[in-house]
């Protein structure tokens, strides 16, 4: 499984926010999409999940594009939004049922998996509740459960750690690691740089709609010419450099 983004130009209006973005997310790899507010992280993600249409360039999952084969494209992907989105009138159980239906999963197996996920995030006793009335953190957990239930080939995760308690953050990171071992690809946008440094294999640093630099952590250190630098140092250094020059 590979997600290939090639020369992507796009945004919400005629004026592009993203200017010529290219990177890849391969199976068994966690890619961190790093950038300031407004750098273009969410816009990139919106293009990947198909809410926006590229003005130029292409986004391909295993040879399938959204234009030519939307069902194949979408069936390979699970998404966790930055702000939880829930159906007002569905219970937690029905959210899970719906996810199983929509992805055409095996009912028995998927429910077994759902139960272990629900237990991990301490939601087992809330199956008959309307999650739309949950707190932000609990809604986010529902999003996580529904996404990881699908055993997708590609996970697209937007700012996953906001509002999660430390226990849930740890469990989410473990989940990402185990999915990675299974062979899934993960594209994750975040500001939490210390966590990203530890858990991502590859980094894409966005600034003002362009890729400032990309590579593994070692490669980033080489670019920054400091082998002791943390991701925060590199990120701040590179963006400030850009700001000063610009």
């Amino acid at each position: 499984m590979t997600l290939k983004i090639n020369g992507l130009v796009g945004g919400y209006s005629q004026v592009p926010v993203l200017k010529n973005i290219s990177f890849e997310v391969r199976a068994g790899e966690v890619v961190g999409l790093i950038g300031l507010n407004g750098a273009g992280k969410s816009t990139t993600i919106n293009h990947v999940i198909g809410l926006l249409t590229p003005q130029k360039g292409s986004i391909i999952i295993d040879g399938a594009t959204l234009m030519k084969d939307p069902e194949t494209y979408k069936s390979k992907m699970a998404y966790i939004p930055e702000i939880p989105v829930l159906y007002q009138e569905l219970t937690l159980r029905e959210h899970i049922d719906l996810t199983i239906m929509a992805y055409g999963l095996n009912k028995g197996k998927a429910w077994l998996r759902a139960e272990s996920l629900l237990k991990m995030f301490r939601l087992s006793n809330k199956l008959e509740w309307f999650p739309a009335n949950f707190s932000k953190g609990m809604k986010q957990k529902v999003m996580i459960v529904c996404a990881f239930l699908t055993e997708a080939e590609l996970y697209v995760i937007d700012e996953p750690f906001l509002g999660l308690d430390p226990l849930a953050t740890r469990d989410l990171l473990n989940l990402i690691q185990s999915e990675k071992k299974r062979g899934a690809a993960v594209l994750m946008s975040t500001h939490v740089l210390s966590t990203a440094q530890e858990h991502c294999d590859y980094f894409v640093l966005l600034h003002e709609g362009k890729i400032k630099t990309q590579g593994t952590f070692e490669e980033l250190r080489n670019v920054y010419q400091n082998q002791q630098a943390t991701l925060t140092d590199i990120y701040l250094g590179l963006t400030q450099e850009v700001t000063n020059h610009g």
């Binding site: 999940i49 198909g50 809410l51 939307p70 069902e71 194949t72 494209y73 979408k74 069936s75 992907m77 998404y79 939004p81 989105v85 829930l86 159906y87 007002q88 009138e89 569905l90 219970t91 029905e94 049922d97 719906l98 199983i100 239906m101 929509a102 992805y103 055409g104 009912k107 309307f130 739309a132």
Partner: protein, 404 residues
């Protein structure tokens, strides 16, 4: 605090003025004029037909009507959601704000109560044979009852202990009914004195509650939001109000009849039925129109009119349910799930057909109850089927294409 109230009131009146332009549109005013005119004519005819002796039902009728009249107009506090944060430091001054709110609510109520009093005077004189002095006493009693009614909101804005169903029942029902029975059967003067006593007790309770407790922000906000929502829902009949989102209720008993999880083909069927049953904006709309159609048709013996009304109600039900098709557009996952676009339309068509058929069955049943001849009832049934074919056919496809 006075200043704050004035600002709030101005803002509120601006909102009302803005929407009144939509509510009081030409068609509606014209229809209202006809309606009021017809009602007035009916009322005067009815008064003329009254015998000189007292009818057995006239006094109970007045008790019921005055108690119903009392329910008009609620407590207008004009509290707003952010107040719980921004007005928190002014907690101890909230009582003077509430007093302004009470005065405003009372003057609004004064107008409406007096207006309805004015309308009932002819019947009070000719139907119940009240003397002028008694009518004045009744008017005063009704106003004081309204003050007690509104005073309850001042108590519960401080005291959680009396915010109970029995308190609401006594203030809004038991006391008014007793007072009205006293007025019409015993003495208007005694009734007025009793109301005065309850008002004094009320004022005492309010002062006590406000001294001992803190202002109940959440509860008062809930009450105000509830009031604004019913206002918006009314306005929503005429124009779109952004605040009207409707509420969600589970109706657990109906869960057994909802579609179970199947394949990805039925995702939208799964969603649409749940939205219909649990989201009040759809369920209440559908039920109201269907029941209204049923009731109206029962009283229409003329078959041509019955068929026209059948067409009208089928069209209204179908047309008003169309927005359900786009109900899930705001939810990102609807676009992200690997689903076929055609399945959604097919699912919606099935759901709409089923609902229209149910309404149709009701309308045909009404036609039977209206004692139409067999051929005529078959005519109504045929109209129903034709309307279903029309509404769920090309008409729906065109709507779907236009709205995706």
């Amino acid at each position: 605090m006075d200043n704050l109230w004035n600002v709030r009131l101005k803002k509120y009146q601006r909102v009302l003025l803005h929407y009144s332009r939509f509510v009081l549109n030409d068609h509606f005013v014209l229809a209202l004029l006809f309606f009021v005119g017809g009602l007035g004519l009916g009322y005067s005819n009815f008064l003329r037909s009254l015998p000189n002796t007292l009818e057995w039902w006239s006094r109970p009728l007045m008790v019921v009507i005055f108690v119903l009249m009392l329910q008009m107009g609620s407590f207008v506090s004009l509290l707003d959601e952010p107040d719980t944060i921004f007005l928190l430091p002014l907690e101890n001054k909230m009582f003077s704000f509430l007093k302004r709110a009470f005065t405003h609510s009372f003057f609004i109520a004064l107008f409406f109560q007096s207006l309805s009093m004015l309308i009932s005077i002819p019947f009070l004189q000719q139907g119940v044979h009240l003397r002028t002095a008694e009518i004045w006493l009744l008017w005063l009693t009704q106003l004081l009852l309204k003050a007690v009614y509104l005073g309850r909101f001042l108590i519960i804005s401080y005291d959680v202990k009396v915010d109970k169903w029995w308190m609401k029942l006594s203030v809004e029902f038991i006391i008014p009914v007793s007072v009205m029975i006293l007025t019409f059967y015993l003495s208007a003067f005694i009734a007025l004195s009793l109301t005065l006593v309850s008002l004094v007790v009320m004022v005492y309770l309010i002062r006590k509650a406000a001294k001992k407790n803190v202002f109940r922000w959440k509860r008062m906000l809930q009450i105000e939001n509830h009031r604004m929502m019913s206002l918006y829902r009314f306005i929503n009949l005429f124009t779109d109000v952004p605040q009207v989102k409707g509420s969600v209720h589970r109706f657990k008993l109906l869960d057994a009849y909802l579609p179970k999880m199947k394949t990805s083909k039925d995702v939208f069927k799964f969603l649409y039925w749940r939205a219909l049953v649990r989201k009040s904006e759809y369920s209440s709309l559908y039920l109201r129109l269907s029941v209204l159609g049923f009731v109206v048709l029962i009283f229409i013996p003329n078959i041509i009119l019955a068929i026209i009304l059948t067409m009208l109600f089928m069209y209204l039900v179908g047309f008003q349910l169309l927005p359900l098709y786009n109900d899930y557009d705001d939810i990102i996952f609807t676009h992200i799930y690997p689903l076929k676009k055609a399945d959604r339309l097919a699912n919606f068509r099935g759901v709409l057909r089923c609902l229209l058929l149910l309404t149709g069955v009701l309308l045909v049943a009404a036609s039977v109850l209206a004692t139409h001849a067999l051929v005529e009832t078959l005519g109504v049934a045929g109209t129903v089927l034709l309307m279903i074919v029309f509404l769920t056919g090309n008409f729906l496809t065109k709507y779907a294409v236009k709205n995706t």
